[in-house]
Symmetry: C2
Subunit: 273 residues, 2 copies
């Protein structure tokens, strides 16, 4: 029998036997009165107007899954530095704009997408990451299903938009399969995004951002395999997914597939569009 105490679970009849007695430790928090010099130092430091500040941007790694590989959206750099290279869509953070809001704005204006999954990824701030000036970039990653992705970039009609195919090695290639140059440290940002996505597969129903509303278990398996970069066991994958409670069977089947059609599912947290 167990009960909650201070947020810890204790087994009433076992704790005494299982736990080792601890030597007493004396508290150490000290609260002496603030001294004058420390206070002055603080005040001086907060006179921030006197200091130069780095530029602050957000960069978006918009990921989609297409033809068995992850793809990201890039913008071709029109100028030096890195002229002609693939850069991530990004923008400066406004003074009266939350970071998440800035990310959503860039996603809307430069990628043509609203309401998709976005999450803060990591902040890149190496001093020399941009040769022009000090720029610290808060990177975000977004996931979107491929049809939305393509509709979005088609709607923007912007010449500089590019889609890069991300190889498991981390290399990025264009539609012809040729490896392309990536601007600044954006290759590293993309690699970090893929890594994060991989980590999320274990505990989050990631696939639902990358799949259409209705999909088969095999579709979902392909998403996992592509993200992870290796095969997963089919039987075990099926069992795990069905046991997770994240999937709802629609009672409908694939059509026109040339073999026994698979059942269609949707994710439990998203009502059918």
């Amino acid at each position: 029998m167990t009960y909650m105490r201070l947020g810890y679970m204790y087994s009433v009849d076992k704790m005494a036997a299982k736990k080792r007695s601890k030597t007493a430790t004396t508290g150490v928090s000290r609260s002496r009165d603030a001294e004058g010099d420390a206070e002055r130092a603080f005040l001086a430091e907060y006179d921030v107007a006197a200091y130069e500040r780095p530029s602050l941007t957000v960069d978006i790694v918009l990921l989609t899954l297409k033809a068995g590989a992850m793809h990201a959206l890039f913008v071709r750099r029109a100028d030096h530095p890195c002229k002609g290279a693939y850069a991530l869509p990004g923008g400066f953070v406004g003074m009266r704009e939350d970071l998440d809001t800035a990310a959503a704005r860039v996603l809307a204006t430069k990628c043509g997408l609203r309401g998709v999954f976005v999450e803060q990824l990591f902040t890149f701030g190496r001093v020399d990451r941009d040769p022009r000036t000090r720029v610290v970039s808060v990177a975000y990653f977004a996931l979107v299903e491929t049809t939305k992705f393509e509709r979005a970039i088609a709607s923007l009609e912007r010449a500089e938009l590019l889609v890069g195919r991300i190889r498991p090695s981390g290399d990025i290639e264009d539609a012809t399969g040729k490896r392309v140059a990536i601007a600044f440290d954006h290759d590293q940002i993309v690699a970090t995004a893929i890594e994060r996505l991989r980590g999320k597969l274990d505990y989050a129903p990631v696939g639902y951002q990358l799949l259409p509303d209705r999909f088969t278990l095999f579709d979902l398996q392909e998403v996992h395999e592509t993200v992870l970069g290796h095969e997963v066991n089919k039987d075990s994958f099926r069992r795990r997914m069905l046991a997770s409670g994240d999937l709802v069977a629609l009672g409908e089947l694939q059509k026109d597939v040339g073999h026994r059609p698979a059942e269609l599912y949707r994710f439990a947290r998203r009502s059918a569009v």
Copy 2:
């Protein structure tokens, strides 16, 4: 039999049967020539000197484990806003200073610690998080063994240093057990640090930052239980840790413990001191 192709594992004799044939997908990457207006927009945007910029700081969540609970180091705010409240040690990011370097500098100057584990945590940038001005803060978390922690703050001899005990609920209390006020959004930053630490337990030998050089398996178990906020199964924990390869048995035993002494271990990646 399997072989590598494009970074994917394929089972030679099984792929045909296991994989469903995919409908062909046409590539979509387009590389039309850059247009003049897009170029001008880019240039205008990069004229960054014209824009106001948020202040950029790093804040440190220095965590240690003491008396069965996580503790963090705070600084008492000497001024408004949040006068008297507990704030995280932090500082502005210098123009010629990497983010990680800034974090290490704050850790050294304000916490008295060098060479400890530090990792970027998350970037907090809500517009209203500091009422004085727009401040975006890249939060870092650091882990240190309690004796180092206490030696460090003792060496600084600064009156405003405070140690907060972090309750599993997220509340922070002083040495007397009273809940204290936390400045700005720093309670949220601390909560994020604890959450991250929990997540890392699954795949990283986190304990080694929080334990002395020599420790018993039970010490390590206590670290996990405190961080996770719940008990773990002793037998399984033991097996997992010993099988992980992260531990090296020292062939020495505890002394003066009033019961059968446990074997002492050290972490494999850290040579004895």
